[in-house]
């Protein structure tokens, strides 16, 4: 009751007084709000969980799991409203994301459930203050910015965690995917598998050039059997790789061009005089051996 008096006074005061006390009033209102949310915790939480399953969000999780997570999210939510600090919530969001991302929970689901909670709580406020419209307005003034910030924090936390996972995986792929192997003295092979984007193409080139220098290679076989298609940018990069290797004194043989890649290379009109291509890796290695002066025979032939 006393609280209400204070609020009314503040509301009736002149503009200056309103300015001075606005933040006080807002936190006063938030406190009242938090008390309300604590009081109705069980009921609101259940309503939220029902809404989540109604809208078919978080289908990757069981009902019990959803309930458990909903409880922690609810408590963190109320705590964030109470303390107006978002660090704890941020940490929780990150932790939650870490657990649910591997299970295939999508961004729209996470954003969806936080917005649902916001709606559920807003509805309960409507119900509580339906007789006092002015009060409802003020409560919502205090509630909405905080709620939006919470939704934002959780969504951003989730997306950041996802990006971190993606970055980590990209790095792992990158490290795994560029072996430069020496098969004979002065002969390197570079088997390329998977999708080549400009960044990976550049990395491959750098790694190959370094490999040429450290292994003192004279011939390099680049095998692209495992590459289904490449766009014009990457194809041009391949040509550049061949030219750059030649500047270091190494001949390049490209093997395993798929029909689609052959089509791309013809379409962009590359100079085939610069490209030494052989159908498959075996043919490429055989030609490289000839260039290096090796002659591979079976023991039977030698006799």
């Amino acid at each position: 009751m006393a609280q209400r008096e204070i609020l009314r006074d503040a509301g009736l005061g002149n503009d200056r007084a309103t300015e001075l006390t606005r933040s006080d009033v807002a936190s006063e209102l938030l406190r009242e709000l938090v008390a309300h949310l604590r009081q109705n915790r069980t009921q609101l939480r259940e309503e939220w969980v029902t809404r989540i399953s109604e809208t078919r969000l978080l289908t990757a999780m069981t009902k019990d799991e959803i309930f458990a997570e909903a409880t922690s999210v609810y408590d963190s939510y109320v705590e964030a409203l109470e303390t107006e600090t978002f660090e704890a919530l941020q940490a929780y969001a990150r932790n939650l994301s870490e657990r649910i991302i591997p299970r295939g929970v999508e961004t729209h689901e996470v954003v969806g459930i936080v917005l649902l909670l916001r709606d559920v709580l807003a509805r309960s406020l409507f119900a509580k203050y339906q007789t006092d419209f002015k009060k409802l307005n003020r409560i919502l003034d205090a509630y909405e910015p905080a709620a939006n910030r919470i939704a934002n924090t959780v969504a951003v936390g989730f997306v950041q965690e996802r990006e971190r996972v993606i970055r980590q995986q990209q790095e792992a792929i990158r490290e795994l995917s560029t072996p430069v192997l020496q098969v004979r003295e002065r002969l390197l092979i570079l088997p390329i598998i998977g999708v080549i984007d400009p960044q990976r193409a550049r990395q491959l080139t750098e790694q190959l050039l370094r490999g040429i220098r450290t292994n003192r290679a004279k011939v390099v076989v680049i095998d692209i059997t495992g590459v289904a298609a490449m766009d014009a940018t990457v194809a041009n990069h391949l040509v550049q790789t061949v030219e750059a290797s030649r500047l270091l004194g190494a001949d390049v043989i490209v093997t395993g061009l798929s029909p689609e890649i052959a089509q791309t290379l013809v379409t962009i009109g590359i100079d085939l005089g610069k490209m030494n291509t052989v159908g498959d890796l075996q043919g490429g290695i055989e030609q490289a051996e000839r260039l290096l002066g090796y002659k591979v025979t079976t023991l039977a032939e030698q006799r």
Binding site: L209, R213, Q240, A244, S245, L247, L248, G249, A250
Partner: protein
């Protein structure tokens, strides 16, 4: 800074310093073209290991040197292009077409010796 030209048997060796002006490059070109006949050299090695930048003028001069020396009856090989420099060059479209290249001085000498051997 003038580029020193060393004679080693049948081969002339010119080693680039890090920073060369256009005038230095021109001087190197005329020096090499003169000396290749004067010393009756059969091969020329231009070592660019110390160069960390290769602009279009330097690249064109290298190509001109190669072609002029070919006309004077000897072979040229460019050695020691750094990986980063090679990458930058091809991105600028400076691919030194028709110019022989090798990894380093040793490879360059091996290349020329092989070439001499096949000419006999």
């Amino acid at each position: 800074m003038e580029v020193p030209i060393l004679k080693q048997g049948d081969v002339l060796i010119a080693t680039f310093q890090a920073a060369l002006s256009d005038a230095d490059l021109n001087q190197l070109r005329s020096g090499l073209v003169q000396k290749v006949v004067k010393f009756r050299s059969r091969g020329v090695i231009v070592d660019v290991t110390a160069m960390d930048v290769m602009d279009s003028f330097a690249s064109r001069t290298l190509r001109e040197i190669t072609h002029m020396i070919r006309l004077r009856g000897a072979d040229t090989v460019i050695v020691g292009i750094q990986p980063e420099v090679a990458l930058a060059m091809v991105q600028l479209g400076l691919t030194l077409e028709g110019v022989a290249t090798a990894l380093d001085l040793e490879e360059g000498l091996a290349y020329l010796n092989q070439k001499f051997a096949t000419m006999h």
